[in-house]
C-alpha cells in the first residue's frame, strides 16, 4: 500500500484551508471548502483499497476473493451527499450576500464586526 494517497489527502486538507483563509471571493471560499472535503474522499477510498482487489459485488465473485472494502465507499457516498447539501446551501447564501452587500469579497461583508 502506497503512502502517496494519504499524503495527497493531507495536502488537500491543508491547501483547502489555505484557500479559505486567503480567499478574496466567496465562491472561491466555498470551492476551497469542497477541496477540504475532497481530502476526506481520498482518505476514505485509500483506506479501503486492496492491491489487486476487485469491486465488492459478491454476486459475481466468490465470497473469499480479494475485494476492496465496501464500508468506506459507503461512508464516502454519505460524505458526498453531505457535501452536495452544504455546498448548495452556501452557494444560495453567496447569491444573497451578493444581492445585499453588492460584493462577494469577504472583506466587504461587514454586518458583524465586533
Amino acid at each position: 500500500m502506497s503512502f502517496l494517497p494519504f499524503a495527497v489527502a493531507a495536502w488537500l486538507f491543508l491547501v483547502g484551508l489555505y484557500g479559505i483563509v486567503a480567499s478574496q471571493n466567496l465562491i472561491r471560499t466555498i470551492i476551497s471548502l469542497t477541496i477540504v472535503q475532497a481530502s476526506t474522499y481520498v482518505l476514505l477510498l485509500s483506506i479501503g483499497y486492496r492491491t489487486g482487489g476487485q469491486a465488492p459485488i459478491f454476486a459475481d465473485i466468490p465470497a473469499t476473493s480479494n475485494a476492496v472494502d465496501p464500508v468506506v465507499q459507503v461512508l464516502m457516498l454519505t460524505d458526498v451527499v453531505v457535501e452536495a447539501t452544504i455546498t448548495a446551501l452556501l452557494l444560495a447564501l453567496a447569491i444573497q450576500a451578493h444581492k445585499r452587500f453588492g460584493s462577494l469579497d469577504p472583506h466587504e461583508l461587514r454586518a458583524l464586526t465586533d
Partner: protein, 608 residues
C-alpha cells in the same frame, strides 16, 4: 413494538408532512401539530430515560443486526442515562421554543416548523447513537438545519453573513471529524464506538490514534465553541431568530461537549489511561482560556444577544474544564451544570426576544430605561442573571459545587477561581443590562461602538403587528424554564440521579460489555455532599456579579479616580481582543487551523 428509534423517526416524518401541506394549512394547525410532535418526542425520550434508569443502559440494533463474538456489522443506538437525558432535554427545549415562537412570529410558514423538527430529530439521534459514523452524520444533519435556521431571515445582511461564517467553520470541523473517523477505522476496522474502544484496548495508542483523537475533539469542540474555534457562535447567535438561539445556546453547543466526553470514555480512556494527567492538563488549558475569554468578551458587549452568546462561550469553558478533569465529580458536575445553564440561558434569550419583539432593537444603550414599561420581563431577566452566577441553592450551584470539589481533588486548586470569574462576569453582565434597560440606571449613551449598536437595530422586524403589548405566552415559557432551573437541583434524588448517570458514561469496560455482549453492569456511584466552602464560593460569585454590575452602572465617580493610564491600557487590551472577532471567515479558519495544530501538537508531544 420498540419505541427506541421513534423519537428520531417521528419528527422527521412529521417535518416532511408539514412541508408538503404547508401551503394549505392554517397557521394554528402548523403550530399545534409541531408542538404536539415536540410533546410526543419528549414523552418517548422520557420513557427511554426511565427504562435506562430502571433496567440500566441498553443497545438497540437497527434491523436486528446483533453483534456476534464482539464484532458488530450493524448499527446500534447505545442508550445510557446521560444520552437519554440529553435527548429528553433537547426535545423539551425544542418544544418550549416552538411554544414561544407561536406568539413571537407574526407571519411564518411551515418551513420553520419543519426545520425545527429535523433539528430535534438530529439532536436526539446524536445523543442516542452508538455508532461513530452516525454520530458524524447526525452532527451534519444538526448543522445543516442550524445553518438554514440562522439564515431564516434570508433578505437581511446580518443573518446571511452569520450563516456563512457558521456554516464554513462548522463544516471544516465536520471534515476534521470525518478524517478522524477514517483514521480510527483504518486502525481498528470498526465504526461502533464500543468495538473501537475494545480494539484500542488491545492495540494501545500510537501517533495515528492521537491525530485521530485530536481531529475528532477539535471538530466537536468547534460545535461546542471552545476558544480558539468559537468565533462563529457570537455571529450566529446575534442574527438567528430568537427561538433558534434558545436551542443553540441551550443544548446544541452542549452536545459538542457531550461528544467529547462520550468519545473519551468509550474510545480513548483505555489506551490513554497512562496519560490521564497530561490530557487533563491539555483540556483544562483549553477550558480555562475559553472561560476567561468568553467572560471578558461577554462583559464588553452592548448587543444583548451577542452578550448572551459570549456568556455561553464562557460557560462552555467551564464545561470543558469539568469534562477535562476526567473524574466522576467533574463529569456529574458538568452534566448538572448543563441542565441548569440550558434552562437559564434559554429563558434569557426568550426575554431578550421580548425586547426585540417590542422595540425592534436589542442595544443596551438604545433601550436605556425603556424597559420600565415591562417590569415583569425585567424581573425575570434579573432573576436569570442571578441564576447564571450560580447562587446557592439553584441547579447551577449544585453543578458548580461538584466541579469545585473535583478541581481540588484533581490538584487544580485555582480552577474554582476561574469558575467564580466566569459566573461573576456572565451573571454581572446580565444584571448590568437588567439595571440599565429595565430600571434606567447608569449612563444612557456610550460614544464607542456605534457600529455594534447599528447591528442591534433590526433591519426588518420579525413581527409587523402592533407591539403595544407582549403576549402572555412569551413570558410564561421563560418563567417556567427559570422555575425549573431553580427547582431541579433541590428535587430529592435529581443530583444523585445525575451522578449515577455519569457513572454509566464513565464506565469504559462496562460500556463495551453492555453494547457488544448485552451484559448490564451497574457501576458504583458515590453521592457527594456539598462542602461549606461551596456555599462561600457560590455566594461570593453572586455578590461579585451584583457588585460588578453596580460598579459599572453607578461607579463612574470611582472610575474617574483610578489612574487614567490604567483605564486606557485595559480598554486597549479589551479592544484588541474584540478586534479579533472580525466577522471575516478567512480569519476564523486561520484560528481554527491554529486551534487544531495546538490540540494535535500538544497531544502528540505529551500523550505518547
Amino acid at each position: 413494538m420498540h419505541i427506541t428509534a421513534l423519537p428520531i423517526v417521528v419528527p422527521m416524518i412529521a417535518a416532511a408532512l408539514l412541508v408538503s401541506v404547508r401551503k394549505w394549512t392554517p397557521r394554528l394547525a402548523l403550530d399545534s401539530s409541531a408542538i404536539s410532535v415536540g410533546v410526543a418526542s419528549v414523552t418517548m425520550c422520557a420513557l427511554i430515560l426511565a427504562r435506562t434508569a430502571h433496567d440500566g443502559p441498553f443497545a438497540y440494533w437497527l434491523g436486528g443486526w446483533q453483534p456476534k463474538h464482539m464484532v458488530s456489522i450493524g448499527i446500534s443506538l447505545s442508550i445510557d442515562p446521560v444520552g437519554a437525558g440529553l435527548a429528553t432535554f433537547a426535545a423539551l427545549l425544542v418544544t418550549a421554543a416552538l411554544l414561544y415562537s407561536w406568539r413571537y412570529f407574526d407571519s411564518i410558514d411551515g418551513l420553520f416548523h419543519a426545520l425545527m423538527l429535523i433539528f430535534l430529530a438530529a439532536m436526539v439521534g446524536f445523543s442516542l447513537t452508538g455508532d461513530l459514523f452516525d454520530l458524524a452524520v447526525f452532527f451534519e444533519l444538526m448543522s445543516a438545519t442550524a445553518y438554514s435556521l440562522t439564515a431564516y431571515k434570508i433578505e437581511e445582511r446580518g443573518p446571511i453573513q452569520g450563516a456563512i461564517n457558521f456554516a464554513i467553520t462548522n463544516s471544516v470541523g465536520a471534515y476534521g471529524i470525518f478524517t478522524g473517523i477514517g483514521l480510527l477505522y483504518a486502525r481498528t476496522g470498526a465504526l461502533n464506538m464500543a468495538q473501537i474502544g475494545a480494539a484500542l484496548d488491545r492495540h494501545g495508542t500510537d501517533p495515528l490514534v492521537l491525530v485521530a483523537m485530536a481531529l475528532l475533539f477539535i471538530g466537536f469542540l468547534t460545535k461546542a465553541a471552545a476558544v480558539p474555534v468559537h468565533f462563529w457562535l457570537a455571529d450566529a447567535h446575534a442574527v438567528a431568530p430568537t427561538p433558534v438561539c434558545v436551542l443553540f445556546s441551550g443544548v446544541m453547543v452542549e452536545l459538542g461537549i457531550y461528544a467529547v466526553a462520550r468519545l473519551y470514555w468509550t474510545i480513548f480512556a483505555g489506551p490513554l489511561h497512562a496519560h490521564t494527567e497530561e490530557l487533563r492538563a491539555i483540556l483544562i488549558a483549553f477550558g480555562t482560556m475559553t472561560a476567561i475569554w468568553g467572560g471578558v468578551m461577554c462583559y464588553s458587549q452592548r448587543h444583548i444577544k451577542r452578550l448572551l452568546a459570549f456568556s455561553t462561550i464562557s460557560h462552555v469553558g467551564m464545561f470543558l474544564c469539568g469534562i477535562g478533569l476526567l473524574s466522576a465529580d467533574g463529569l456529574s458536575g458538568t452534566a448538572t451544570y448543563i441542565v441548569g445553564h440550558g434552562l437559564t440561558k434559554a429563558a434569557l434569550f426568550m426575554l431578550a426576544g421580548v425586547l426585540l419583539h417590542r422595540f425592534q432593537n436589542i442595544d443596551e444603550f438604545d433601550l436605556h430605561g425603556r424597559g420600565r414599561e415591562i417590569p415583569w420581563t425585567g424581573a425575570l431577566f434579573a432573576l436569570g442573571g442571578i441564576l447564571l452566577s450560580a447562587v446557592p441553592v439553584v441547579t447551577l450551584f449544585f453543578g458548580k459545587s461538584l466541579l469545585d470539589g473535583a478541581s481540588l481533588a484533581a490538584g487544580y486548586p485555582w480552577l474554582p477561581a476561574v469558575f467564580v470569574f466566569s459566573s461573576m462576569f456572565t451573571g454581572g453582565a446580565v444584571l448590568r443590562v437588567a439595571g440599565r434597560v429595565f430600571c434606567g440606571w447608569g449612563a444612557s449613551k456610550r460614544p464607542l461602538d456605534e457600529e455594534q449598536a447599528h447591528q442591534a437595530r433590526e433591519e426588518e422586524p420579525e413581527e409587523q403587528a402592533s407591539r403595544g403589548r407582549t403576549p402572555l405566552l412569551m413570558l410564561l415559557v421563560p418563567a417556567s424554564l427559570l422555575a425549573a432551573a431553580i427547582v431541579i437541583g433541590v428535587i430529592p434524588g435529581a443530583v444523585p440521579g445525575i451522578e449515577v448517570a455519569a457513572a454509566h458514561l464513565r464506565d469504559h469496560h462496562g460500556y463495551i460489555g453492555w453494547v457488544l455482549r448485552g451484559h448490564v453492569h451497574f457501576p458504583p456511584a458515590e453521592t457527594t455532599h456539598i462542602a461549606g466552602y461551596d456555599y462561600l464560593y457560590g455566594a461570593g460569585a453572586a455578590v461579585g456579579a451584583v457588585a460588578l454590575a453596580a460598579l459599572t452602572l453607578f461607579g463612574q465617580p470611582l472610575l474617574r479616580r483610578t489612574p487614567e493610564l490604567l483605564v486606557r491600557r485595559a480598554g486597549i487590551a479589551i479592544m484588541a481582543f474584540r478586534r479579533l472577532h472580525s466577522g471575516h471567515i478567512g480569519d476564523y479558519i486561520a484560528w481554527w487551523t491554529a486551534g487544531a495544530a495546538l490540540l494535535g501538537g500538544s497531544s502528540l508531544i505529551f500523550l505518547r
